[in-house]
Symmetry: C2
Amino acid sequence: MSHHEVDAEKEMNRLLAAGGTPPVETDPFTIGDVRLSPGRIVGLLRPHMRERRLERIRDVVENRTRAVVPVVEGLVNTGNVSAVMRSAEALGHQDMHVVRGEHEQYKHSQRTAQGAQHWLDVWHWDAPQACAAHLQKAGYRVVALHLHADTVPIRALDFTEPTALVFGNEEAGVTDAMLEASDAACEVPLPGFTESFNVSVAAGVALYHAQQDRLDRQGHHADLSDQAQARLEARFCLRSVNNAERILRRKIEEG
Amino acid sequence: MSHHEVDAEKEMNRLLAAGGTPPVETDPFTIGDVRLSPGRIVGLLRPHMRERRLERIRDVVENRTRAVVPVVEGLVNTGNVSAVMRSAEALGHQDMHVVRGEHEQYKHSQRTAQGAQHWLDVWHWDAPQACAAHLQKAGYRVVALHLHADTVPIRALDFTEPTALVFGNEEAGVTDAMLEASDAACEVPLPGFTESFNVSVAAGVALYHAQQDRLDRQGHHADLSDQAQARLEARFCLRSVNNAERILRRKIEEG
C-alpha cells in the first residue's frame, strides 16, 4: 500500500470521526478480494471504451486541481448548488464541499448540474466548524466570500496557496460560525448599485478568478501528482464503462 | 441642444426604424414644456435626497461603462435574464440588450434581478439581425459566446475595443442568424468534462473577464464622458426621489 493510500485512509477516518460523509462510497481499487492497481484497472477496461473517451479522461485528469476547493454553505436553492458543481467541474476542480443549512436538506438538481456531480468528489457536512477544521488540517486556508470590515478584494489573494473558497446562503451569506472558523474573507469588488452577484454567479466568477490568478502566477492551474492522476484516471474509467465492476470480476476470475 | 443630445435623438430614430424598443420611455430632461439641464435637475432634487444617496449615485456613475455591452438572446428562463442583468449592473455596465426568442416572451423576475433593471438601459429586440446591426453601426464589434470552428479563447480579445458580448439560449446557444451577424465568437476554455457553464454564470464570468482585461490594459473600466456622466446622474436622481417629476413641476411653477 502506497504512502498516498495510507494518507487517504487516515483522512477518511478523521473525516468520519468529525461527522462528515465521505464522497467515495467504496474503495474503487478492490474488486471482490483482489486489490488492483490503477494501471491494471485502466488496462482491463480499455477494450470496453472508445479510444477518444480514454483520451478525454486523460485530458481532464491532467487538468485537475485540488489546490482550490469550492465550499457551499447552507444554500436553499438546489439549482444553485448544482450550478456551482457544474462550474467547479468545468473549471477543473476535483473536490467540492457541501455544508447543510440549519433547516434545509440539499437535494440534487440533475438538470442544472449537467452530470458534473459524477466527476467530482463531493463531501457533505452537517456543521460548518467540522468542515473548516477538516480543510485546515489538510493544509487549506479557508476564505469566505463575504462582505465585512476585514474583507479584502479577491485580487489581493494568492491562489497558488491551497485555498478553500466558501460561498454562503442566498439571502444571509456565510454563517457566523463559518466566518469565525475562516482564515479570511474576500469579495469581488462591484462598482454598481447591486451589491452582490447571484450565488452561483459569485462562485463561478471567484473560481474563474482563482484559475486565472494561478495561470498568471505559475503558468498552470492543474497540480495532481502522477500517482494521484493514475488513481483518478482509474476511477473515471470505472465511471465511464457500463457494468465496469462486473467486467473486472469476470476478467479476474478468468485470470 | 448639445451635440451629444442630437446624436441620442438620431440614435433613437434609427432604433425605432429598425424595429427596436428603446430603453428610455420619455426624455427625462423635459418637464412639461420646460427643458432642464442635468445639473439643474440634480440641484432641484438635492434637498429631497440624503447626501449619502447622492454620493452613492455619483460613485456609481463615475464607474459606469458603455464600452462593453451584454446581449442575451432567446433565453427562456426568466431567472437567467434577471441574473445577467444583476451581474451587468453590479459590474458597472449601463446598456443591456435583450433579443426575444422565437417562441418565448421574456418576463421579468423581480427577485433575481435585485432591482438591477432600474439602473440599466435595457434595449428590447424582436430579431437578432436588427440588434447586431444597431450595435455595429454604433461602433461595437459583436462577439458571440459560442463554440464552433472559428471560436477563439476569450483571453485573445482586447476589451478596450467597444464590444457587445452575446449570450445565447440555455440549450441551443446563440442562433445561426446571430452568429452570421456577429464579428467573432469566443469561449471561456473549460478543462473539465462539463462543456459549458450555466448561461448566467457564463455571462458573469465573461463580463468579469472583460472588466479585468480592461483594468489590466488601461487601468480603468469606466469610460463615460463628463457630459454623459452628468446626464446619467440626473436620470439616477429622478429614479431615486419619490414623485421626482411632481416635485420638479411644482418648483418650476413656483419659479
